[in-house]
């Protein structure tokens, strides 16, 4: 099928990929060939900086689409080969490997090359454009005393920040008197420079570089910066050589009309190589607009590209900076306070033409949309203030709510209406908004509430397919004395349709029936079928129990031997003071456990995890309580218990909180004269200081209260509800009443004892008694 001419996409960057997708969306049959000059299939160049991470980066992790996408979409991909010659008239392209590709239409997505200013010794400079550049920069940074980045624009600042994170002292050298002068006005740039310096990057403005010498960088005024690594990031130059040689009209970029057609009707151009109405875009957002128009042109639909509003977001941790459109103009309003600067620019007719948000990017979605649609406003200052308070209701339908999965407001509202959907959980599962990092879930809930006219959400269903709540299923389990997930499915259908609730059902039945619960492995997530944590490549991680983070030399030797013997690619100290052996294959697990001779750490399960400790009174001169002994005792008391979601704990020997007890699900802190128990803390995607549940005189009492709280949470929380979410929902007062009341506490402790007795302290013993003979084997025994 590839033999017949079709569409040739030249260039495998973000633009080439966007064109392939947009064309395929409109025409399932047309033959598409994508030629990538780099030896990689299209990857997200915007996140190139992540490849400078200290441990190195894998360009595969930045891939825009997996191999199967190209297979399924019928897109032929050639990598590591460039188009050397284009003959639009004949519809033929010659490749560097001597072969030809014929085409009906070609789309040039050749992107741009880094611009290197004329410098003496400039050959020694690095550029920052592709994965190979990142490897070279990282290698050079390893031994460098200082790095210099020439260029204080978006790319230069991101490169400098990445270098600083590598631990290399870094200076940004910029020609003009302010950073990011293309996007920022003077006052915003003046705030940005100190913010960048606070991240450990020196900034030198108004410095023209003249030469690179073996000892550093020499400026026009004769001064010198000592450094042994120079990265140039002053801008890009459209890659137009192929187009020029083919006789196409070229100015700065390849000239295209409103249909993105070049001077030859068979050839289009998209992205950084294209020049439209005199403008060449060097950022990512316009690419998607252009790819859509190009695909419409190729499909023969009427269309016109009217240009894009440039928007930029600095991807530097700790600095909120979003800009759209013009930074300066006829009418400007500014809201500046301390480190934040918010500005809106309007034309004489009151239409919004630009926005700069630094230090406080609230309302960015709404303001970008206002610039895009040139919204008219009588009072720009009011619009600016309104945006910072903007609720989900005021967001335009086009505003992107979930950045992880690219879901806009309109799609979420439509899904809620079409469903109709009644709970946040349903909306997340249908739209996937909030299914990534989860940070947009509050907006999703807000949209749901609006659509339901403020009505309370429908209950969270344990089984959304059959609309059954945890309480309804629990009642059934009690009444009919059901002891397995299979029996629950038989009784009410829960778990039969999509199966996603089966682990939740298994937890519920095990919690209610304790010792009478019958395990069915099909109801468990893969982690709980093989007692290890599945990783992105399908291998597993192994974390042995290391109570309180205390380990013996002999255990360390065994861990090291196992890592060697099974050639495990990484051994990592975890945040919970344990050791993680990564990259084990499923069939290796039983032998690894045998050789370790340590029990499972339950790091893969919705269960009690580690209890982190500080050295407490054993060695610390500040210690008030014996954190290690108390932590180990607490871990022994809790280990093996499954929970609605994972439970992380810590014990700190004094309020300096070195074990981070304040941000754990359960945290104990020794204070003068006793112990404090904190619950509902978190330091993951959500950061929350735990609520003080109680202050008591002895560690025994503290442990008892911690266990009563654990049991209370085990019985009351929804499946996959962390303690912080549970406490936010029900409030600490009610929990305190339930856990501290002597009679209730005694009952909780009694039920905890029953559950503990029924729990499996070491599922790794299944190495000797597997639940199924092929528990750890694939059909062919090897991957």
């Amino acid at each position: 099928m590839y033999a017949r001419p079709g569409i040739l996409v030249v260039g495998g960057g973000i633009a080439g990929q966007a064109v392939c997708e947009a064309v395929r969306d409109r025409d399932p049959d047309v033959s598409i060939t994508l030629v990538c000059g780099e030896p990689h299939r299209p990857y997200d160049r915007v996140r190139l900086g992540s490849l400078l991470a200290p441990e190195g980066g894998d360009v595969e992790a930045l891939r825009l689409r997996p191999d199967t996408w190209y297979e399924d979409a019928g897109v032929r991909v050639l990598t590591g080969v460039r188009v050397t010659e284009l003959d639009p008239e004949l519809g033929r392209a010659a490749l560097a490997d001597g072969t030809d590709v014929v085409f009906d239409h070609a789309v040039l997505c050749t992107g741009s090359d880094p611009l290197v200013p004329p410098l003496d010794g400039g050959g020694g400079a690095h550029v920052f454009r592709d994965p190979a550049d990142c490897d070279a920069i990282r290698a050079a940074a390893a031994g460098a005393r200082r790095a210099a980045v020439i260029g204080g624009g978006l790319l230069g600042l991101e490169a400098a920040h990445a270098l600083a994170k590598l631990g290399c002292p870094t200076t940004v050298v910029h020609l003009v008197d302010r950073l990011m002068e293309r996007q920022l006005d003077g006052p915003a740039a003046a705030l940005l420079a100190p913010a960048i310096e606070r991240l450990g990057v020196d900034v030198r403005l108004t410095h023209a570089s003249r030469a690179i010498t073996p000892t550093g960088l020499v400026f026009d005024d004769g001064s010198e910066l000592e450094c042994d690594l120079v990265v140039v990031a002053v801008g890009v130059r459209p890659h137009v050589e192929l187009a020029r040689a083919a006789g196409l009209e070229v100015a700065r970029g390849v000239v295209v009309d409103d249909r993105l057609v070049t001077s030859h009707p068979k050839v289009l151009a998209v992205g950084e190589c294209a020049e439209h109405r005199g403008v060449v875009h060097g950022i990512v957002a316009p690419i998607h607009d252009q790819a859509q128009v190009a695909a419409q042109t190729l499909a023969g639909s009427p269309c016109a590209y009217a240009g894009s509003i440039p928007t930029a977001k600095l991807k530097v941790m700790g600095i909120d900076l979003v800009t759209a459109g013009a930074a300066e103009g006829p009418r400007e309003v500014v809201d500046a306070a301390g480190d934040s600067y918010r500005k809106l620019v309007a034309d004489p007719d009151g239409r919004v033409i630009g926005a700069v948000l630094l230090g406080d990017a609230r309302g960015a979605e709404l303001l970008i949309d206002a610039v895009r649609t040139a919204r008219e406003t009588d009072d720009p200052l009011a619009l600016l203030a309104e945006a910072s308070q903007a609720t989900a209701a005021e967001l335009p339908d086009s505003a992107q709510v979930c950045n992880c999965n690219g879901v806009c407001k309109g799609a979420i509202v439509e899904a809620i209406r079409e469903g109709p959907l009644g709970s946040t959980q349903e909306v997340v599962s249908v739209t996937r908004a909030g299914a990534g990092c989860g940070s947009c879930k509050p907006v999703v809930s807000e949209l749901l509430k609006l659509e339901r006219d403020g009505a309370a959400e429908e209950p969270a269903y344990l089984c959304p397919c059959r609309r059954l709540t945890r309480e309804q299923v629990a009642q059934l389990v009690r009444e009919q004395e059901l002891t397995s997930v299979g029996e629950v499915a038989e009784a009410c259908g829960a778990g039969r349709d999509c199966g996603a609730c089966k682990p939740g059902l298994a937890y519920l039945v095990s919690e209610l029936q304790a010792g009478r619960f019958r395990e069915e492995r099909h109801a468990r997530f893969i982690n709980d079928r093989v007692h290890a944590n599945i990783q992105n490549d399908g291998t597993f991680s192994v974390v042995p129990r290391i109570r309180g983070g205390v380990v013996t030399p002999d255990e360390l030797r065994r861990i090291a031997d196992v890592a060697d013997r099974y050639e495990l690619p990484m051994v990592k100290i975890t945040g919970g003071q344990r050791i993680d052996l990564l990259g084990a294959r499923k069939e290796q697990l039983p032998a690894i456990w045998e050789d370790l001779g340590m029990p499972s750490g339950h790091a893969y399960a919705k269960a009690v995890r580690t209890v982190k400790t500080c050295v407490g009174t054993d060695f610390c001169r500040f210690g008030l309580g014996d954190a290690i002994a108390v932590g180990i005792e607490l871990e022994r008391a809790m280990e093996g218990l499954h929970t609605p979601h994972k439970v992380k704990s810590a014990v700190s020997g004094c309020p300096r909180n070195c074990a981070e007890s304040y941000v754990k699900d359960i945290g104990l802190v020794a204070v003068d004269g006793g112990w404090e128990i904190y619950v509902g803390g978190a330091a993951g995607g959500t950061v929350r200081k735990g609520d003080l549940l109680a202050s008591v005189a002895s560690s025994d009492e503290a442990i008892r209260i911690a266990l009563a709280f654990l049991q209370h949470y085990r019985e009351r929380a929804e499946h996959l509800e962390r303690t912080y979410a549970y406490l936010q929902r029900v409030g600490i007062d009610g929990v305190r009443e339930a856990v501290l009341d002597p009679a209730e506490q005694a009952a909780l402790i009694e039920r905890y004892r029953i559950a503990k007795a029924a729990s499996d302290p070491d599922p790794w013993r299944e190495r000797d008694a597997p639940v199924h003979p092929r528990q750890f084997a694939e059909l062919d025994g090897a991957r």
């Binding site: 997996p66 199967t68 996408w69 399924d72 599962s429 249908v430 996937r432 299914a435 778990g495 039969r496 349709d497 999509c498 199966g499 996603a500 089966k502 682990p503 492995r521 099909h522 997530f525 893969i526 982690n527 079928r529 599945i534 992105n536 490549d537 399908g538 199924h772 003979p773 092929r774 528990q775 084997a777 694939e778 059909l779 062919d780 991957r783």
Partner: protein, 105 residues
């Protein structure tokens, strides 16, 4: 190991796959996941089109599987993604005299 007769390939024994679970196998250089369902068998490409997750390790319900990595869900009869546009190839699988046979489609 496997014996090829016509285009059907023997991939293992019936007892190798527990009820409502999946196991994977390479057939003709292609990774295929075989599932044991309450009323028979199903086989699909084992690699999730999203990020390459092992579908054979997914949670299995009566006619769908959920990828263990990011929760993409696929119908075991049609191969279509639930709530999305991805599709995985569906293959023929049969039980004969206690053996499992797969035929790539």
């Amino acid at each position: 190991m496997s014996v090829t007769i016509d285009t059907w390939v023997r991939v293992g024994a019936v007892g190798d796959v527990p009820l409502l679970e999946g196991r994977s196998v390479t057939v003709d250089a292609r990774r295929v996941a075989v599932f044991r369902l309450p009323d028979g068998w199903a086989a699909i490409d084992a690699v999730c089109p999203h990020r390459g997750g092992p579908l054979g390790d997914g949670l299995v319900a009566e006619r769908c599987v959920t990828c263990p990595l990011h929760g993409r869900r696929f119908d075991l009869v049609t191969g279509e993604q639930d709530g999305g546009d991805d599709v995985v190839a569906v293959h023929d699988v049969e039980e004969r005299d206690g053996e499992l046979w797969v035929h790539l489609t």
